[in-house]
Each structure stands twice: as C-alpha cells, then as structure tokens.
C-alpha cells in the first residue's frame, strides 16, 4: 500500500430507531475518527441516518456464494478482493 493511500471502510446506517443498521457503501479514511466524520459527511447529507457504524473492509469476512442457492459453480474468490456491498435481502426498488 502506498503511504498516501487511505484504507477502505464499509459504512452502515441506522435510519431510525427500531431498524437495524444497513450497509450503504464505502469510503476511504486514514483513521476511525475520520471514517466516522466522512461517513456523516458523505452518507448523511440528507439526514439519512441517526447512527453510523464504520468497519475496515478488510475486517469483514463474506460467505462464499455457494452457500446460497447454487446458481453457478463455486467461484474463484481471488478476483473479488473487496467484500463490499455484499448481499442484502431488500429489493433494489425499495432501497
């Protein structure tokens, strides 16, 4: 990693109490404070969230796709290094 390259974080927002945090995207930040601040600046510009989680992307382990309905042969995992935007159950229309 270059010394001026910031690491990738995944961002989760709770839009209101009673709902769980939901993955909304990712961003780059050097440290946790910055990641939280950036998440607020980037993903809550229209007051979309009341609680923010940030997680370094490298800390997330994603299940292999063959654990769901086996649509395809199990994939070679190497190409897709970043586990971001992993499956969420909602339909795109209702995001």
């Amino acid at each position: 990693m270059n010394k001026d390259h910031w690491k990738l974080w995944e961002v989760f927002l709770r839009s209101k109490n009673g709902l769980s945090h939901k993955h909304v995207g990712s961003l780059h930040a050097a440290d946790t404070e910055m990641a939280i601040q950036n998440a607020r600046d980037v993903y809550t510009r229209r007051s979309e969230g009341i609680s923010i989680w940030v997680v370094p992307s490298e800390s997330i382990t994603a299940s292999a796709p063959d654990e769901k309905e086996p649509l395809f042969a199990p994939s070679d995992d190497k190409v897709y290094r970043h586990p971001t935007f992993y499956d969420i159950p909602d339909d795109v229309e209702h995001m």
């Binding site: 001026d4 390259h5 510009r45 229209r46 292999a64 649509l71 042969a73 586990p83 995001m95």
Partner: protein
Amino acid sequence: MGTNVSLEDNFQTYVDGENKVEPKDWMPEKYRKTLIRQISQHAHSEIIGMQPEANWITRAPSLRAKLILLAKVQDEAGHGLYLYSAAETLGESREKMISDLQSGKAKYSSIFNYPTPSWADMGTIGWLVDGAAIQNQVMLTRTSYGPYARAMVKICKEESFHQRQGYEVVMKLAQGTPEQKAMAQESLNRWWWPSLMMFGPSDDESPNSAQSMKWKIKRKSNDTLRQEFVDKTVPQVEYLGLTVPDSDLKWNEARGHYDFGIINWDEFYAVIQGNGPCNKERIAHHVEAHEEGAWVREAANAFAQKQAQRKKNTGAAA
C-alpha cells in the same frame, strides 16, 4: 440441465430472469471488465464534472444561488464516491482508477471538456447535462450488477433536485432583463449539441452496446435515450421562450417524435480524443489537487499508524 451447460449460459439465463449479480457471484471476465470501465468512467464524470461548476461558486449572484450550487457540486462529489465504491467491489482500487484517469487511459463524459464562461451555464448544465445524465441513470437503476444499481438508486433520488435547480436558474434568466434572456439563449446555443452527444455514438457505431444490452448492464440504446431526451426537452425550451439551435428540428407526427439535425460526430470524436477546449485543463486541475494533497494524505496515515501503535502499547501495559 446438463453438465455441459456453460457457466456463461447459466449467467445469461440468470440475468435474463432479471436477477441481480452481486460481487462474489461468478461472472464472465468481460462482464466484470465492462462494468469496471463503465462505472469508473461514470465516477470520473461526476468528479471532473465538479470543475466547470465549482468555477462559479465564488461568483454566484445571490447567497441562495451560492448555497444551492455548492450543495449540488458536493452531491456530485458524493456521487463520484458512491460509484468508486461500486467499482471497488469488482476488485479495482480507487487509486488505480484515479491513476487511469490522470494518465488519460480512462475516459469521462466529454461534455465536461467544454468551458463555463457564463452564469447561465450553471442553469444549462443542471437542466440539459444533468437532464441527459438522468435519462441514462434512471435506466441504470435496473442494471444487472447489484452495487451499481443500488448506487444509481441513491444518485437518482438526489439528482432530481439538480435538474430542477438548473431549470430554475435558466427560467429566472429567461424571464429576466433582456440581457439575462440573451445570456440564457447564448448558453443554450453552446450546450444543446454537446448534450445530445452525451448519449454516445449512434447505435450502429457503438460496438460495445449490444453485449451490454444483452447482459442488461445497459437497458436502452444510445439512440433511444437520445430521442427520449429531445422529445422531453424541446417543450421545456419552448416554455422558456428560447430557441433550440437546430434548424432541422421539427415534430414528426407519423413517428410521434421530434426529428432533429445531424450531430457533428467529428467534434464528438475530437473531444473524446483530448482535443476539446478544456481536456488538458480538467486533468491538470485534478493532478494538481492530487499531488498537492499527497503530503496531507501521508501525514494522516502516519498519524493513524502512531495512534494504532500507542493503543497497542497501552493495551499491552494494562
């Protein structure tokens, strides 16, 4: 289903069934490449697209207009970020995408290689350029790649204010003093044709389109989108009392669409190849900001490392 059904056929059946592809699913390498190219190009367009508008933030003629423009350009930065995020799910780092942008390997929408000498351009860009972009983006909310589709849903929600903002700026000019009306017409004259070019080459000249349609990355052809845009926009121009700078433009009753003149494709390709009025300026601006920020990014990293080390030390001591 026999075992000799290829992965690619399976993939096609899956996509044909209007199912979304997610990052860790198997996908044809070319699908992945196409997506990276398209999403990063889209992200770069948002980022480079900040420049022609940022140019007017300090000179916006009212405080309200200044705030709106600032918020709009900020949205574009946000949209660029959503899109970089979506592309990163395909294993392409932002660093790599930015270096491709700066080296000229990656493209962005050619429209942003035109200058913005007039305040009226802040209206015209919102109205026509964002309008044309929305046409494309609404289609992309149904694109087959999940992260891209989700990013587009967020972007479309936010973009709707941009086009209205643009139209409002132009409307105030068109209904203002004679000088202001002239300002609006002059700006429309410059942006009309480049806006039509935004949809890309004609279908018969667009080699990648067919495959993209088949994979449902793209859902409508360039020419279809362009026609929809013209049909939608001409009445808006008329409402303002302005004139579309195209003498061939007329309503075709039989087709139920507007006929319009021939696009200057030589200009289109020249600008794509780097010969627009602002290509060099836009990239130089991006490179300069990036280089001037290097020491800042390094400092933040160095500080983060020190902090992590300190935390470790305190943890060990406890």
